[in-house]
């Protein structure tokens, strides 16, 4: 019952706001915040339950939705370790972001619409997290896409925002297409949509490896779309056109993590198909590296954070790919805290400076002390400095990579750690220190915005301790990959930790050397690699000029030819002509005069009676 309540409270709130409280803006924000906070409170009970019983059985509650022989779909909720963790992350981060939004969006004309969309999003996210079968997860997957579309295009009067929302939507469709194909492949193979049943069938074996391989890759397509992996990563940076709380909630903490969650949910499938895992791991690694490089060359504070998100997502996917599910989920959790923190702090910075360009800020640390401090804490966590949460989680991924003998990926991981540390240092120094480049008077944000920042900062700093390898039980006790029975792989490798720390410190040092001066523009600007990275490796242009204009338009031309000449001219117009000619004859019987029809009707009755009744 609780799970259903959690699922539907945000929906009720969205409906209420849409129908009733559009005019009372304050009330709509209270409803929305109340709904998500209430969900958080409701989700505390399952969490406590989980903490007491680490090896709890999954709780399923479902009812039959579509029941055709051979095709059974149910609607239901699944409560296991994974979904409880996600529930906690979503409700907790969601609550804080909701509260923050109340301050950030204050005075906006679409205030109520914003909160309605936010509630809708929370509803769909819960749907993904709690669903127990593929069909339901796909529905909510699309709903998440829809609410993300609505929220990215929140400032729809801005062309860039509406373009970004369309882009996000379309790019996601490509991934989702693969996803639903994957669902069907799995259904074909197992005959069910239910996760637990699928897992049972997979454990029994007997499904050909090729099928598994195809299914895993297709489902990974969905994750690629939603988690913005290469080559579908192009939408996420553009999605920063939405309001900052949206970026924090959707495009850092929750929705983009849904792809990773999906991979975790279907971990057994990947476990049984090592080839697919390789693909996943290399795509993740490549995304991580590419995004990190691009992040170095960005000047927009939100874009830097966005590319760092992209890089982190690549990290998580890489972790999944090398079989480090626990590591990936752990990184997802800590990442949700510090990335949400970074985005919210960035929002607070934008609120203070009224610009997003980091070269128009600087030297304002003293004016925005709370924001600055929390931002720096988040950056340290992001960079993976000991003992912040990022360090522990990243270290686990690297360890997982190392122990699974993916040395190339391990090298990439170390490199990404280095670059991350570098660009975070760059971001912090350029934004808060150096010479004064801003106009106007930056001021600290109201408490409704800073208090969530502080709470998140606390979590960003300390949440890594949950995965501390020397404690038992730790994070891995609860979240365990399919390969490791009851225990996660919270090994601790001093070589890996040391190496990464060295590289992180090197990155910070390099950043310090280059950027801790009075600068007016980026000193690396003339560099060729910088230019390449600044233009995001020309991915958008490549898609536009090659895929869309050549391949897509070519297919369109062929289709157009077929349609115009064969379908329209021959079939459609031909039948229309035939019909018209025939109707010219039949038309004579319709005079349009009511009484003619009536007369014929009555005459017909008389004739019928004469034929059958009387004679």
């Amino acid at each position: 019952m609780t799970t259903w309540l959690i699922l539907f409270i945000p929906l009720i709130s969205a409906v209420l706001i849409t129908l009733v409280t559009r005019k009372q803006k304050d009330l709509s924000s209270y409803i929305s915040i109340g709904a998500v906070v209430f969900c958080f409170i409701l989700s505390i009970n399952p969490i406590l339950n989980l903490l007491q019983h680490p090896h709890m059985e999954p709780i399923q509650k479902s009812f039959s939705w579509i029941n055709i022989p051979g095709f059974h779909v149910e609607m239901g909720t699944l409560l296991d370790q994974l979904s409880i963790l996600m529930l906690f992350v979503v409700t907790f981060v969601g609550s804080l972001i909701h509260i923050y939004s109340r301050g950030y969006m204050h005075g906006d004309p679409g205030f109520s619409r914003f909160f309605a969309c936010l509630s809708l999003f929370i509803f769909s996210m819960f749907g993904i997290v709690l669903s127990n079968n593929f069909i339901q997860i796909f529905i909510f997957w699309e709903l998440v896409g829809l609410s993300s579309y609505l929220l990215i295009g929140y400032y729809f009067e801005k062309p860039s925002a509406s373009d970004a929302s369309k882009k996000a939507f379309l790019v996601n469709r490509i991934g989702d297409f693969g996803f639903i194909l994957g669902i069907f492949v799995i259904f074909q193979a197992t005959g069910t949509f239910n996760f637990i049943e699928i897992n049972h069938i997979l454990e029994k074996g007997g499904i050909p490896d090729s099928t598994l391989y195809i299914a895993a890759l297709l489902i990974f397509c969905g994750a690629v779309g939603k988690s913005a992996q290469f080559p579908l990563h192009v939408w996420l940076p553009d999605a920063m056109e939405g309001p900052t709380p949206v970026s924090a909630l959707i495009h850092a903490a929750t929705m983009v993590a849904a792809g990773v969650y999906l991979l975790a949910r279907t971990a057994l499938l990947y476990h049984l198909s090592p080839d697919a895992m390789e693909v996943v791991a290399y795509i993740g690694g490549f995304t991580a590296l590419m995004a990190a490089v691009i992040a170095v060359a960005q000047n927009d504070i939100k874009r830097v954070v966005a590319y760092s998100t992209l890089s982190s997502l690549g990290y998580m996917v890489m972790a999944m790919g090398v079989g480090g599910m626990t590591a990936g989920m752990f990184y997802l959790t800590t990442h949700a805290f510090f990335k949400a923190l970074l985005f919210l702090a960035a929002g607070s910075v934008i609120h203070a400076f009224h610009t997003q360009n980091i070269w128009e800020m600087g030297s304002a640390f003293k004016k925005v002390k709370t924001t600055g401090t929390t931002f720096i804490l988040g950056s340290l966590a992001m960079a993976g400095v000991f003992p912040f949460s990022g360090f522990w989680s990243k270290d686990e991924i690297l360890t997982a990579t190392f122990t699974s003998h993916h040395y190339f990926l391990f090298a990439i991981g170390i490199l990404v750690a280095f670059i991350s540390a570098f660009f975070m240092t760059r971001l912090v120094f350029v934004t808060f220190f150096g010479n004064e480049r801003y106009h106007g008077h930056p001021h600290e944000s109201p408490p409704v915005m800073t208090v969530p920042l502080i709470i998140l900062a606390v979590f960003a700093v300390f949440s890594g301790l949950a995965g501390l390898p020397w404690f038992e039980p730790n994070f891995g006790t609860y979240i365990a990959g399919p390969s490791h029975g009851g225990h996660g792989e919270h090994g601790f490798n001093f070589f890996v930790a040391g190496l990464s720390t060295v590289f992180v410190i090197a990155g910070i040092a390099l950043g310090y050397v280059i950027y801790c001066r009075d600068l007016d523009k980026d000193p690396l600007e003339e560099n060729a690699l910088y230019k390449l990275a600044h233009n995001k490796f020309y991915f958008d242009e490549f898609y536009d000029n090659f895929i869309v204009s050549k391949i897509y338009n070519g297919i369109a031309k062929i289709c157009n030819f077929v349609e115009v000449n064969i379908v329209i001219h021959f079939f459609v117009n031909g039948f229309a002509y035939l019909t018209r000619e025939l109707s010219k004859i039949l038309r004579l019987t319709t005079t349009g005069k009511l009484q003619h029809y009536t007369l014929i009707m009555v005459a017909g009755v008389v004739v019928l009676f004469l034929l059958f009744g009387v004679l």
């Binding site: 009484q595 003619h596 007369l599 009555v602 005459a603 009755v605 008389v606 009676f609 009744g613 009387v614």
Partner: protein
């Protein structure tokens, strides 16, 4: 006694019905229609259905014909003296209608369309209304609801249709 009343009512019914379709002035037609309805109500009483008679008067005479009169007066049709008020299809229509009367009359008189009056209890007659009400709310509750919904839709539809478009 009852027969005398029946024939009086029947003749009045037919006469007023003919008046409805043959008078030129719509208001006069409406009045004839009202008279016809009243006669039918009287026939209902002969058929031991006082409730239906009251309903007939209530709805047909009290509402429907008033509505007709209202429409005629609002549109001011009463003053139009219709030049040719019958159709050019008159002869064939008359033939068809008379044929219909003959065919159906033949069926009624020579068919098995007759029933002897069953032995009814006085109680059923007196408690007519009560029995009908109980039936309406038990056995026929679904049609009842459907009809009430229909009435509601008609109400809204009539309002929407008759409302002047606001520019």
């Amino acid at each position: 006694m009852e027969q005398i009343f029946f024939y009086i009512f029947a003749i009045a019914t037919v006469a007023s019905a003919i008046a409805v379709i043959s008078l030129r002035n719509p208001v006069h037609s409406a009045i004839s229609l009202m008279v016809c309805f009243l006669q039918v109500a009287a026939l209902f009483i002969l058929l031991r259905s006082p409730f239906l008679a009251a309903v007939q008067v209530f709805i047909y005479v009290g509402a429907v014909v008033v509505l007709f009169l209202f429409a005629v007066m609002v549109l001011d049709l009463g003053k139009e003296r219709f030049g040719e008020y019958l159709h050019h299809q008159r002869p064939i229509a008359l033939v068809v209608v008379i044929g219909f009367v003959f065919v159906m009359g033949f069926t009624i008189l020579h068919g098995s369309l007759d029933a002897q009056l069953g032995n009814y209890t006085e109680k059923a007659l007196v408690k007519n209304t009560e029995i009908m009400g109980k039936l309406l709310f038990t056995k026929y509750v679904f049609p009842f609801e459907v009809v009430s919904l229909l009435l509601l839709i008609a109400l809204i539809g009539a309002i929407v249709l008759a409302m002047k478009e606001k520019r």
